[in-house]
Symmetry: D2
Subunit: 359 residues, 4 copies
């Protein structure tokens, strides 16, 4: 049973291989009557697009989205919204050497074993190119969330061992002003410098993306399995190269005592809030109205410009040469993907909560 | 739309409030013809049960599981398996004070706001009592997985800031020999000592559970959204108090270079393996045959035996007194829950992969 | 993959074999804050119960429903509602002869082949006893629908070749006043007489149940696959012995011309209505505000008190003797089941439509 | 929550409006390694296509399918298969008059009320053009079913009041040799003549399509809700204009006694079969190895070339003129759609049954 459908109420189905004809997405369950600006969708695509700066892969894909259905005279109609991106600039020859070989820490081996067949060109379905469809769908979700006052953003908070000094002191406005999408000016420079060095070595490096959701109403999240943070976690972990997810106090919080970790309730301007927010905006799996924040760990990109030992399909030892055009660090381009997945989770839960509303 | 159903093919539905009549679970999609030993189910229940040691809550619940359907003459029949646990020893009066007050970092506030009504007794549906139903279902899953050579275990790897020295050097056989369920003898003592101290303070402390799956065949996991680790992550994050999930190299791995992080493929005894296993047994969202390992962060239990400031439903400031019988640290009892959720994810993906098998 | 979960938003999971410990249901996704009267649930159970009149099976089952969760102080809480019925008066010995034999037109053979194992006692999961769980869930759904002005009823419109003269002239108030649940006084007597004759012959007879839904708002039904009538059809066809479903003009309507069949729109009291209602209250899969009506065909019960030729599990010819206590005609007891399934479909679509509502 | 996804394991998502840019489908869960012949897909499209004979609509759509993903070097890869058909020859002006008016027995009114907005051009999403995507997906399913020995076909068995004399005596090879797709030579001529007359009157007429599935293995169908015939019924009822579904003895069977209706089991060539087949190849919701047959009732097409009374969006009485190019009888073109939906249900259940297989 395939796993290419995401969401319960706002459901997306995606398709497409890296070097196939096209990739795309169908959204089923988008509520009707919302204005959608195609330019905003394209803006999100451009943030994810290869070739946008000197520190990302130099592949050239216009990533021009075509909307095929579900929007009439600028508004959603409640029927499925299909979007398509035709593939361009595929250099499939770059991949002919891996037809019968397994690149280390890639999905070549597992796809081959799982399905008994694989489209090896450019990684096929396992390529991160697939995430472009998520960004397109997320851009629709995001525009609708804005109508409900929900905003979200993400930024690079760590590259290698270089971290922003404090998540509490970041400058949101700076995120799109630097190629790393770091939210701290000084740190951004160090990060960019590190990535350039790593690329010169033909190597890659990992990093962390922090996501923040503001304006989320109280009540989103469906206990007991579809807790809001559980669905956010699944969404993030489904992004290529993501190895970990934490929200609120996360892994560090395990060292705290309950008396230190608990967030006291207070009333401010007639609204129940918490004095601190170690809960990360979610309690019992349900949003509590405070900012939701979370962090996603991304491993170093598996494709390196160095020769690596591996085996071929017959089990013979081989040396795989680094080829192609790849990212030295996935994190800068992961930022809009993290946002897109967060938007998809939020709109799904926003719509699911409507079922619970009293009339 | 409720969120009390988990899984796609081996689907469980759970029900029950902490102080209601009963809790339970229906499994739909369990394959027929497998022998099930009820004693093994009860063993798992006993591992999760309150009152099992001096460092957990002293509530007394027999947690006796009754199987109501789906098993005939000791074997699964392919029809739904229902299991029920009647609630006992509820001291609902312990909770009368929170009927109109919101305990800090509990789900009182969010449930009240989400649903407009809540069964406050013992936390109702938000109580960790709910996880007993998961353990019962997981115990069925686990017995079937054993037929396929898949084993899984978990252990306490950190309490507060006390960690096992190395996950590579743990002693699996020791896990059930100490109340903390730590896998290292020396560390276990320190952890137990810490938990006793914390309890004396009327406080609580967090910790980390490490899970390990061995014998998993290559090919489980459904790209692109239902990646094996994404579903494991969701499963773990859906457990009460879980704030983070990582697998393989996890958060620490972001500091590595690709050349350090990649796992070279080798052939051993005719089987493709990886020389290292920073991938954590999963590549491209699909199991690669190596051990799968992951870590789950649990925050300190929110209920503390200290007075805390909060607000009531009218928004008035109140002081909430710590009452009831609670765990000073959730981690020892979380170990069998982590195992149960892992078993449920694995059997679901084992069955899903059957669809892909060539004939 | 099991098929014991029904609905998308108001989802029910059922379990239980005819002669097992119990049968029951979990409802996930029931909206919070609705008052539920347990007596009304029991009333519906009693309408479906064996032994209620001289023309149905004389098995004695109290069918006493226990509510285990999800209702607090008389109101739904938004958490799963579990209900259980313990089995009584199972005369499993009546079924020992079919342990290794296949009753004609029963599910013995197909269950055995599908699963390789079966609980033969009383038909196991294939017994119509399973429908009691549906009626319990439907009784909850129905009470909530009433809050929205949606009413539904069903009646026996045909037994064998005896039909009510006109569905337009039926007397709804008479339905529960006769054991056949016919809605026409004269016809009811003929039907009852026929069923008594059939039973004396040790035989059985089929019939038709007509269902009617009034007060349904415009807009329920989700094109293109989950059309309202498609989900109603599936619901009815999933009831034991149901062989056909039609709505509106149904099979007879194929003989009409478009100019005869089309329902002209008119405005009455400021509301758009149709002058005729051959559409059966649904157009394009979406309710149009007119009465929804449909018909379900039920075959004669397969268990007859006559010897029948068949084969055993080894393929040897055998003669199966009619035994046990069975219904000579399923239709009178099918009426509340049809209503229950209709209620489940309607509430699911009522909740699904909330997603489309503009804000 | 949208309803544009069909199936549990072999899941299709469709999109597209009649006069939008394109329509299409994504298949998720197609098993890998099966050879797919694009020409066979196109053949099925051509059977559904407008303009194929003198008795169907004269719209001209090439209905050329493009495969965008999921097939590599002629074989399925296990990843999503996307197919697209760009729309051509839309004469949207033909529909400008219905922008603010509700055509009788069309979905104009219900879509407008449900969503508050609608793409009126050509009926938008409610147009039967949508079924082209189903046929494309069904053509993939069908090719895979053939590998398992499952064949299926359908034919026109009734138009208006003209019926084939006997379903037992039909000539399958004649179906594609006449524009009505009737399976009886004499009847076909009468039907064609009737349809021509009806069209001259500017009117339309209904009909019945009979479907037959041969070679189905024992064991498909998932009790209790996802019975094979329940899913077939839903599939057929989801096709535009379908008003009824019956299988096996259907509505006529209600007049029979159990002793007449039961199908005795026999053994032929070592295989358990039934002497008669009033069960229609399905018992207890599970295929029993006999031929599966069913019938679908289609109402007369709502669009007629006659003036009709209706109302506009403001509730004013209007006279709607018949315009555009439409089918006088939907049944000939419904035949391949019925086959496609049957194929989709069968492959879904074939794959679902794999979960139950013993190892």
């Amino acid at each position: 049973m395939g796993g290419n459908i995401f969401g319960h109420t706002f459901r997306i189905s995606t398709f497409g291989e890296s070097h196939g004809a096209a990739i795309g997405v169908i959204i089923d369950g988008c509520p009707p009557g919302f204005s959608i600006d195609p330019a905003q969708i394209q803006d999100e695509m451009n943030r994810r697009r290869p070739g946008q700066s000197a520190i990302v892969t130099q592949r050239k894909e216009a990533d021009q989205v075509q909307i095929l259905s579900g929007i009439f005279e600028g508004k959603t109609t409640g029927t499925p919204i299909a979007m398509i991106l035709y593939n361009e600039d595929q250099k499939s020859k770059d991949y002919s050497h891996i037809q019968d070989q397994f690149r280390p820490s890639h999905a070549d081996f597992t796809y081959q074993e799982k399905y008994g067949i694989r489209d090896h060109r450019g990684g096929g379905r396992s390529s991160a190119r697939e995430t472009a469809a998520r960004v397109a769908a997320g851009a629709i979700a995001r525009q609708i969330l804005t109508h409900f006052g929900i905003e979200l953003y993400a930024y690079t908070s760590q590259v290698g061992s270089i971290k922003v000094p404090s998540d509490a002191l970041i400058d949101r406005s700076f995120i799109e002003q630097n190629p790393v999408r770091c939210a701290d000016r000084i740190t951004a420079e160090s990060m960019e410098s590190l990535i350039r060095d790593i690329r010169k070595q033909g190597d890659t490096i990992g990093g962390i993306v922090t996501g923040v959701i503001t304006g989320c109403p109280v009540g989103l999240g469906e206990p007991v399995f579809d807790k809001l943070h559980a669905d956010l976690g699944k969404a993030m972990l489904s992004i290529n190269a993501c190895k970990g997810f934490e929200y609120g106090s996360g892994f560090d919080g395990v060292q705290l005592k309950g008396s230190e970790h608990n967030d006291p309730f207070i009333v401010e301007d007639g609204v129940v809030r918490t004095k601190t927010n170690l809960s990360g905006g979610i309690q019992g799996g349900i949003s509590n109205g405070m900012d939701i924040y979370f962090r996603c760990a991304f491993k170093p990109v598996a494709t390196i410009m160095q020769d690596q030992e591996s085996v071929d399909r017959e089990g013979n030892p081989v040396s795989i040469k680094g080829k192609g055009r790849h990212d030295p660090c996935v994190v800068p381009r992961a930022v809009p993907i993290v946002e897109a997945m967060a938007a998809l989770v939020l709109i799904d839960h926003l719509l699911r909560q409507r079922v619970n509303l009293r009339t």
